[in-house]
Symmetry: C3
Subunit: 268 residues, 3 copies
């Protein structure tokens, strides 16, 4: 007969941190096993690096931004990224179709409102898109401040997430993932990540991939940023600067496994 103590040891009330780290490990395993197709409408600067990040994580990326083809690609995808960098007429038109197709076919999607702080029309477009059902919005502090017209804080993130029925994934020294009453903090990552172009964009693509295999978008977003953050730490240990870091993070993502993720994840 088991004593209560034994029972407690066997099935403890897991703290949220271990829960999210475990979720990230499970998501990573699912990416490897299921190789989700992730379609990315993303900026010209980020396309190559993003595709390589997705491949290293076990996914199958596609990248067309052509309005004539986008519906066919999104309909066959398991996740979608809508990134507003290098926005142009074609991308605008493609995004409209992609978001409509994603809604119809239940393809989860992520909004990455790159540089909305730099161009008011882009910010206006981002606000419209935020209302069209992204499962997550991944952005940095300046972009959040522009989009939400509020400085980022646990309260303003939660409020924005609630208003748009989405998950807010804010990248920074500490990432914050907010949805309704749930808030996660992720302490992984490395300063060199800010010195490689498209790193945030690639993180958003990884969140889209995680949404393809994890039905809880809050857990999916936390998993995506934990995975890339831990890979960043492993890469930094081998890098001589941002050039070798960009290479090493692809290698690290490719080699990353559940145990390494559980050991290094700083989520709470």
């Amino acid at each position: 007969m088991h004593t209560p103590r034994d029972l407690t040891n066997d099935t403890p009330q897991m703290p949220a941190a271990a829960d999210l780290a475990g979720a990230a490990a499970a998501v990573l395993a699912s990416l490897r096993a299921r190789a989700p197709r992730v379609h990315c409408i993303t900026n010209a600067v980020a396309q190559n690096f993003t595709a390589n990040v997705l491949l290293a994580a076990g996914c199958v990326p596609s990248m067309t931004v052509d309005p004539e083809e986008i519906a066919a690609f999104v309909a066959r995808a398991d996740g979608l990224l809508v990134n507003l960098g290098t926005l142009d007429r074609e991308r605008r038109a493609a995004i409209e179709i992609a978001v409509e197709t994603a809604g119809k076919d239940n393809v989860p999607w992520v909004l990455d409102p790159v540089f909305v702080d730099r161009a008011p029309p882009r910010a206006a477009f981002a606000r419209v898109l935020a209302g069209r059902g992204p499962k997550a919005v991944r952005l940095n502090a300046r972009e959040f401040a522009t989009l939400a017209e509020a400085e980022p804080s646990p309260k303003s993130l939660a409020s924005y997430a609630k208003a748009y029925a989405t998950v807010v994934a804010l990248s920074g020294e500490t990432d914050m993932i907010a949805e309704g009453a749930r808030l996660a903090s992720i302490g992984n990552g490395h300063p060199l990540m800010a010195k490689v172009t498209a790193m945030g964009c690639a993180g958003s693509a990884l969140v889209a991939a995680c949404l393809a295999v994890e039905p809880d978008p809050w857990r999916a977003a936390a998993a995506g940023l934990t995975i890339i953050g831990v890979a960043g730490e492993l890469a930094a240990a081998k890098a001589q600067g941002p050039g070798s870091f960009a290479v090493a993070i692809i290698d690290a993502l490719y080699s990353l496994d559940g145990p390494a993720l559980l050991q290094r994840a700083k989520v709470s």
Copy 2:
């Protein structure tokens, strides 16, 4: 006086395998010596990596996809790649002009029908282009199955190649190069090649480069895939994952020489 045995030793009937390996070495030497200009209409994901692959092999790449400029660039090129990834209106228009210019000015060209299995309109466009005189069609098994409406096999490849009077270069664990009665198999390459975006696209660009210096398109296509396959093996020996592999394959291409190619080529 030479004995018959001496003569035989001097000019043996070369088996096809050694013949193709030798052809690949000769083609590589020609690329280094003649620095052919290779114009690539290729997808946004692949442009940078493809240009670096061509530079490493000794070629001079150009990449514009603008319909207003494309004729001038193609007319001054020695080889042309038409890759259908991230196809858009501008690329479609540019391809029409490029293919017409190539026909008029005898610039050999390669068709790479990327992802035709994902979008029916792209497949339809690829079928039209296949009929307009590419010297080679480089693709993978899924793309061939869509384009030829037949599973890839020596017979279906030969049949397709004959119907379109072209060379079919099928990438896979073993590459197959078919033209009329001739079939080559190439056993070079490494699984990491499938983990780097644009690797197939870059292989197609290299085939276009080889067509610029080798008049027999079957030999040129076999040379191109042998060269990149051997470079991939050399790179894999130094790589920690797909990130460092993508870097190492450029270094390996740059350093590759005839003896290394002859020693490692697995062609038959």
Copy 3:
């Protein structure tokens, strides 16, 4: 009382070489300290590498080429690059607006007339742009010969610079920077720089960054090419070929400091 010798030691008449090397070191320090925003209208092949070069040098790059957004981005930028590679209708329209905005808002800009020797309409467009007030024109010998209709020489460079009231920065084995009566020669760099796509484009972007922090455009242009040339030498010492060289030059730029620059600069 100070003897004349003492005075000479304290405030020597600096030779031009040490002056320009010192200027380059001062410019590099300013880039790190002020993190200028550099907007780049550049070709699709170069966007990612250029962004990473700018980040490594301490700048904040942006890359949109959309005519609807370009004015907002240029108005908020400290420097602008106009590169004519992969020129298309959208880029043409964006360039018109960008150059007008730069003129109005006093944003210094660089013209990089990539491949004007390949397409006459592009050369015509470049000639028009050269007359619209770039602080510097960065190009290679073939491009200069097409644009200026004269072989490059100290005299033809000075003449062109005077005619267009700009600085001519000619890349080659030895770079030459001409403006009115001033001519600088830079002997830094490495042959592998010609084997990496977009290296020249990235150099032009770095010149745009230097113009943002150094009001004398001749010194700024010399500083930009000295910085990337020295970084190239440091990278070559660690590279196995053009793949690892492209990675190492980003690392080298990131680590480069004033003393290393002063020690290695070959300017006269």
